[in-house]
Symmetry: C2
Subunit: 436 residues, 2 copies
């Protein structure tokens, strides 16, 4: 083996691999998100990473998007999932007889997109999704619950966000009001670009669509409504009596009631009519959360309502509402902007160092302490001094020194590394001091 040619160890480009101390923070974020979902009684789902191509590509009629990883095994065409929504649609269709609706599930897992690797884009990334799926109908209360979850999750993550909320019925209805119903899709796609190409850019493109200046001004006005929820609701009310518009307004009003009931801080959400969210499967409520102090991060959480989740797989109508957080990208941005919590090199709370040939005694102590805290024995073949130095470098908070005298008296030397203090204590008292 020693003579063989070595293979240069490396990973595929566009894949994130964190150092263990950063992974600890990443996992901690997942834990917090999971807990919030569970506190609202969402249940976990874990669908396979691989699915039949026929299932994952149902939307495009089997046509393979170039960013989807796919391959053939035997006679089977297989894709790696590129989101968690199609697998959810497949799951609820497959199991609709056994599911109790509304079905509230969270799924935190890796998805794959083999797109050209760009700055801040990953080919493997963790998505944290929560969805509420109804059968035949789903009250707006569910949309309220999603808005509540987003607020709670980012509070837990200690990240200040503003959740920009809208309802697509407003713009769909307003297009009818302006007799643009035949061009709704094109108009919405254009308006969605306002943050990219600016107001002037949108105006020019609306003109290209054959829309006159007066109408285009009205559209640009309505998407400029983005501030306090109550205020925007009042400005919207007189704009149209169109049935769909009025329904959108009613849904927003109802949603607003629930948001208030949830006591979400006013500065953490707004009503923003420019929020459209490209995918045309969204139907009512839509939302996008961003970080006001870092607008360049873009959307850190998005979602909304879709009237028919599983149309490709089931005749049953299953409306849903959900949110999605792209955690890998968010983590990467936080990391690059020094916004992660401090990450010490280890998770060790107590390291036991033998002073002499006392490993057996040390392991006895480890089996005691590790019931209560993260504890290890330093069994390396190095000098005591070198071990103490290394422990300092690793920022280990407590060191327990176990030598002959300590073992004889059953009093161990506990050193608080930050304060530089040390005490001779029984193991029980050591535990008390550390846990204090």
């Amino acid at each position: 083996m020693s003579q063989q040619k070595l293979i240069k160890p490396r990973i595929l480009s566009g894949f994130m691999e964190l150092s263990p101390n950063k992974q600890l923070i990443f996992d901690g974020m997942i834990e917090k998100i999971k807990r919030v979902y569970q506190e609202s009684c969402f249940m976990p789902l874990d669908t396979p990473v691989l699915e039949l191509s026929e299932i994952l590509l149902a939307k495009s009629g089997g046509e393979i998007d170039k960013e989807v990883y796919h391959f053939t095994k035997g006679d089977t065409n297989i894709c790696m999932r590129y989101d968690l929504t199609v697998p959810l649609a497949r799951y609820v269709s497959m199991n609709s007889e056994n599911i109790s609706f509304p079905f509230k599930r969270y799924q935190i897992g890796k998805v794959y997109r083999g797109e050209r690797a760009q700055r801040g884009r990953f080919r493997e990334f963790v998505q944290c999704d929560g969805d509420i799926v109804g059968l035949d109908q789903l009250p707006i209360a569910a949309d309220g619950e999603c808005v509540f979850l987003i607020d709670k999750i980012f509070k837990q993550l200690d990240i200040d966000i503003v959740n920009h909320i809208s309802n697509r019925n407003i713009l769909v209805g307003y297009c009818r009001e302006l007799s643009l119903q035949d061009k709704t899709k094109e108009v919405l796609t254009l308006l969605d670009k306002v943050n990219k190409i600016g107001k002037d850019g949108v105006e020019k493109e609306l003109e290209n669509l054959g829309i006159d200046k007066k109408t285009s001004d009205k559209l640009l006005y309505i998407i400029s409504l983005q501030s306090d929820f109550q205020e925007v609701l009042e400005k919207l009310a007189p704009l149209s009596k169109d049935e769909i518009f009025v329904e959108g307004l009613r849904q927003l009003q109802e949603l607003y009631q629930y948001i208030q009931a949830y006591q979400i801080d006013k500065k953490n959400y707004s009503l923003d009519i420019s929020i459209i969210r490209g995918q045309d499967y969204y139907t009512g409520t839509v939302f996008e959360a961003s970080i006001p102090s870092h607008p360049e991060f873009g959307t850190v959480c998005g979602g909304g309502r879709y009237d028919n989740l599983a149309g490709y797989f089931s005749q049953k109508k299953m409306p849903g509402v959900g949110l999605s957080i792209g955690l890998t990208r968010l983590f990467d941005l936080l990391d690059k902007n020094n916004m992660l919590p401090a990450c010490p090199p280890t998770n060790t709370t107590l390291q036991i160092i033998p002073l002499g040939d006392y490993l057996v005694e040390c392991f006895k102590l480890q089996s005691y302490f590790s019931k209560y805290l993260n504890c290890e024995v330093n069994y390396e073949n190095r000098s005591f001094k070198a071990k103490m130095k290394e422990a300092g470098k690793k920022q280990i908070p407590y060191i327990l020194i176990v030598g002959e005298e300590e073992i004889d008296r059953q009093l161990y030397t506990l050193k608080n590394m930050a304060l530089g203090e040390q005490f001779k204590l029984s193991k029980e008292d050591c535990l008390k001091m550390i846990c204090k």
Copy 2:
């Protein structure tokens, strides 16, 4: 969309997809395993699911095993990982400059083997691995720590196991003792089959290898030594003075000291010379845990020591020792044998049901209670009676009824569903009663 042909929702064969209540148990098991690793100061690592084929197939010189999922994207040959050990070897080689050795990491993640689906075999399964990797050398104490971890993990999972421990140096040295050093690999492979083909089968095949009856009897005797650690150590001692054999014995004696220090219950481990573990990268300590009440489950956790983890990627010598639990298979076996803990259909502790049009008030209460426990509002468009019946079916432990009277008096009706009792309490007292 409604006119299109529906696609039959289904998943690939050989893939496990749990119902959410079972997923909750599965996730709970992962949590417990993770906590044990952390209590011994193992750090998390999460390598990509996809790796360059060159890396994952280093062992076989690039030859693709038919069970490995692989594909090409652009010019790149990509494989899905089939274990977590090769990625670990790649990781430590890539990052050896920044790692502080011994490097203790756990990784809990999915691996992929596209083998023919058999009963109890999965093509996607979760492995829970823990390894300790040293630079140049690694004390036997690390092997002790792995044995300790296995004991703790299965205690946490409430599963009674016996960890069968051996050291490959014993058999390697004994082959030298019997002048079989040229046939060591074949002999070990044969002896490893004793549980499959029986003593007679092994005897016959040893004969085919040209090994005489007397020698073969000695081999069969030594692998029959499987019981109390101390007892087997004593029986081994007189068998050989071969250097490697004696070294194996010394390692086992040292390991035994640590196992005793960790106060592992005697009934939970044994010294069992028949344990070999096929892969020839194991060098010293080897272990396999099984469940005595269900021998048909086979090995539920295995591992051991390898002298050179990363020989394909690095000139540095990195000895390691590790354990691996195939959680998907274990879970499936526990499930099929009704050995899982009870799994109620939901994780809801408290469901709030409005009696009338009081959703806003209910959401206020949810935002209060969900800080402390899993709480949801039942906002379905169904009768109160239907909701209560459904809550009973779902085994939700507490129901809070919120009607006009409750809101006026700020005293809510809390119903303990198991006892059928109900009380009128303030929200604070409701919380106290539930958390009691």
